[in-house]
């Protein structure tokens, strides 16, 4: 909802989100994909702080870079065959995943919840 702030989630960072942050950092991208996922700036900052604390990311003179451990996570998830081809760079859009529908069931997505 415009203008209101969603309640703080208990931040158990999903692996997909972790992968997404690491990829954003690797490609020097914007955090907009995380905002689309519904995270607030405060939650994003907290998750980044956690990734620094867990040594997936290191801070060098105010700039963040991936550590070997961080790079390893990306390579590992790709190497396991979980992500192939373009999936190595595009993170699955978990929030858009919906329950399987019956064959003749109608589905009208809420336009405000779509971000593509």
């Amino acid at each position: 909802m415009e203008g209101s702030i969603p309640p703080l989630r208990i931040l158990i960072m999903e692996k997909t989100t972790r992968r997404k942050i690491l990829l954003i950092l690797l490609n020097q991208g914007s955090i907009v994909e995380l905002i689309k996922d519904g995270y607030t700036y405060g939650q994003i900052a907290t998750m980044i702080n956690e990734l620094v604390a867990e040594e997936f990311i290191i801070e060098i003179e105010d700039e963040l870079v991936l550590t070997a451990k961080g790079e390893g996570i990306l390579i590992e998830s790709n190497g396991k065959g979980n992500f192939k081809g373009i999936e190595q760079w595009i993170v699955p859009d978990e929030k858009s995943r919906s329950q399987k529908l019956e064959e003749n069931e109608l589905y009208l997505p809420n336009r405000n919840e779509l971000h593509f």
């Binding site: 942050i21 955090i31 900052a45 801070e59 963040l64």
Partner: protein, 293 residues
């Protein structure tokens, strides 16, 4: 029409801003979550040079919260220890007010600071073990200069913040016009002061007690071509605020260009207006000032 989310933040920048908030203890405040959110949204409306300047200035920003007042007050009053000839058994405390505010019995933050001098904790500070702090609202009831000179008890004109020093000087002149105390007994005190305010009072011949003395946020921090560039960036941010017809151009760079980076219980108008002026940017959007007045 749905609004497509955008963000100029990269991972490093949001971490940098969050680190500043953590270092300043701002993550501990009750409303931190919304406060940080609004601050980030404010930065989203700025270009990268404006964002960098605002982050730099914010890292230098002093926010003295209500709960911090005692510590700042104690440190301010402890400066009396530098004047060994004083008799600290009786200290007269006068809230610093402009004459018009005093006549209208207006409650200002100086009244709160004056009352805080009766905080029982102060009696546990060695210098003030035997001190009686007497708050005086009616300056006509202050003791005569001859009596004070004999007893060596100080009178302290107190406030939480001194900016240009104009109000402090006005209050000082009002007392001096009634009773000509010398600078051995009459002092101006403030928890936080801008340096130019301190100089103004000192030039009038009186001493200022203060815990923190602050320089101008841009003019005293940058030099040469960098100073010119930073001033231009600040002007460009203030031009965004000036879209609102209520934006008083006299407050550019703060009242009388004080360039303060301070918030006390209230935000002084000496602080750069982007921190406190809630400009109406258009029909639906308002500038989310972090420390509105």
């Amino acid at each position: 029409m749905r609004i497509k989310p955008t963000s100029k933040f990269d991972v490093s920048k949001i971490r940098k801003l969050n680190k500043i908030f953590i270092e300043k203890g701002w993550t501990e405040i009750e409303e931190y979550h919304a406060f940080f959110e609004n601050f980030c949204k404010l930065l989203e409306d700025l270009d990268s040079k404006q964002t960098d300047l605002l982050i730099e200035l914010t890292s230098d920003f002093l926010w003295v919260k209500n709960s911090d007042y005692y510590k700042y007050l104690k440190n301010t009053l402890l400066k009396l220890g530098e004047y060994p000839n004083l008799n600290l058994e009786h200290i007269f405390i006068v809230p610093l007010l402009a004459k018009s505010d005093r006549l209208n019995n207006k409650i200002k933050s100086s009244t709160i600071v004056a009352y805080s001098c009766q905080n029982p904790q102060l009696r546990h500070v060695k210098l003030f073990e035997k001190t009686k702090f007497q708050i005086v609202h009616d300056i006509n009831k202050l003791p005569n200069p001859s009596k004070l000179e004999a007893n060596k008890n100080p009178i302290i004109l107190i406030d939480d913040f001194i900016g240009t020093g104009d109000t402090a000087l006005e209050g000082l002149e009002e007392i001096l016009s009634l009773k000509g105390y010398d600078n051995n007994t009459l002092f101006v005190a403030s928890l936080v002061c801008q340096n130019e305010g301190v100089e103004l009072i000192k030039n009038r011949g009186y001493n200022v007690l203060s815990d923190v003395v602050r320089e101008k946020g841009i003019s005293d921090r940058y030099f040469g071509s960098e100073l010119i560039a930073k001033r231009k960036i600040m002007e460009s941010i203030e031009n965004l605020l000036a879209v609102d017809s209520k934006f008083d151009l006299g407050f550019r760079f703060g009242y009388k260009e004080s360039e303060a980076l301070v918030t006390m219980i209230r935000t002084p108008n000496n602080t750069f207006p982007l921190y406190w002026f809630e400009a109406k940017l258009n029909k639906t959007n308002k500038w989310k000032a972090p420390f509105p007045r």
